[in-house]
Symmetry: C2
Subunit: 259 residues, 2 copies
């Protein structure tokens, strides 16, 4: 068991979850996922990020055992509670921390099915929003989540936590410009959520392949709305100026799933 607070493992994990972890994650192709739920998904899922190292405290080990998870295929390292506390980005760590490999999906491999549903996140910044949107996308059977350059890193600890395991269920493509997407899929229906949109979400009719575009929390999406983008609004009866982005995106995705 690792008990030294000078262990290089601590430095490795902390570098990946620090405020400058983005650069570190990019260079090493690794990110950190904490907790039982992520470990379960990573061990069970046929696709998605693989675990490179699994750090466990004794209580974390018994949680893993109780859950009946088979960790024989991954490197497992027992650490003391203080070492886990030094590594973790949470206040009450569960004693389970996975170093995972960022699986780079090739955007060129993404194909249309005729009824594909994609989500495109344009420069969104809030990690809670980004993770919640990915989780809702998973729930609603969305086929892929695509993020623009300048969007929050989907492998940052707060995003990973907010996805609640959905990171292992849905293909993610990062750093794709909207024009790259448009060039690859010239026939796809592009919807963009905008408070100023002329089309009500409830007026949308059956669509084939479709991408729903969600913009930056503060600046919205209006600069992206060109000729072939349908600007869609969520009809609101009440007084709020706007909805939280992840709440709005979840409503749109629920509606798209039923079309």
């Amino acid at each position: 068991m690792i008990e030294s607070l000078h262990s290089p493992h601590i430095a490795r994990v902390k570098a990946l979850i620090s405020s400058r972890g983005n650069k570190e994650r990019g260079e090493h192709g690794e990110f950190i996922a904490e907790g039982l739920q992520c470990a379960r998904e990573a061990l069970a899922a046929a696709s998605g990020p693989k675990i490179k190292t699994l750090f466990l405290t004794e209580s974390g080990q018994s949680r893993i055992d109780t859950a009946g998870l088979d960790t024989s295929s991954v490197e497992t390292i027992l650490v003391s509670e203080p070492v886990m506390a030094a590594m973790s980005s949470t206040i009450t760590p569960q004693g389970i921390l996975s170093v995972c490999e960022i699986g780079r999906n090739e955007f060129s491999d993404l194909k249309l099915s005729g009824s594909s549903r994609f989500i495109y996140l344009h420069e969104i910044q809030d990690p809670g929003n980004a993770g919640t949107i990915l989780r809702s996308a998973d729930a609603m059977g969305i086929d892929a989540v695509i993020t623009s350059p300048g969007s929050v890193d989907m492998y940052s600890p707060k995003v990973v936590r907010a996805t609640a395991g959905s990171l292992w269920h849905i293909p993610l493509y990062s750093g794709i410009t909207l024009s790259t997407l448009s060039e690859k899929f010239p026939t796809i229906t592009k919807l963009a959520l905008s408070a100023q949109g002329k089309t009500s979400l409830l007026e949308l009719e059956k669509v084939g392949d479709c991408v729903a575009i969600f913009g930056n929390e503060a600046r919205g999406i209006d600069t992206l709305i060109s000729g072939d983008v349908i600007a869609v609004n969520i009809p609101m009866k009440g007084n709020a100026e706007s909805l939280n982005l992840s709440a709005a995106a979840s409503i749109v995705m629920f509606h798209l799933a039923a079309l």
Copy 2:
């Protein structure tokens, strides 16, 4: 201008936003709302929490002036940037911090309209969820938000921030048990969101007065589902075990608004 970091104003504000602020807010009937948006709502809204003291830095004052807000009816205190930084719960304070009076709504005054839409939050804990749900409720024209005993304090800083000003648009009733609600409104239709619910959200038909019940993030609501409560599920095509609570609640409220 207040420049001393020993000013009793700092202690007053910090007590109201501390982790034990719940007790302090209850005793003094005050809470803190930061930023321009809350100040605008508090100054403009006919109802909702009134400002008792408005703390401004010079840059906060010019934001208020630029926005054309009339602060003549409230006590305004200029503070230095370091004093504001010491008061604020945010990393980058906007220089605008309002001490507001918690307006206690009398639950006995709440009436049904025949098509009332209420939200009931049962022991929900996450402040971001609670604030986002209140914001969505406001957007969807919900008539009142009611919280159970043991729910997160709706006047805590993270909740207030997540409401994005909606706290001034929608009546809030705190600490009401579900049986109190049921006794007061024996004819109201009670819906409870539950992953195990037998009724799909999409199967719901026109309802008159209605309350949508959302449960604790981890424990859900199943213990509350008795004879007259309709357990409703959100149909999900995908793989996620569940939705984020505020995303789920927003979908339900959007749907209820259209019924």
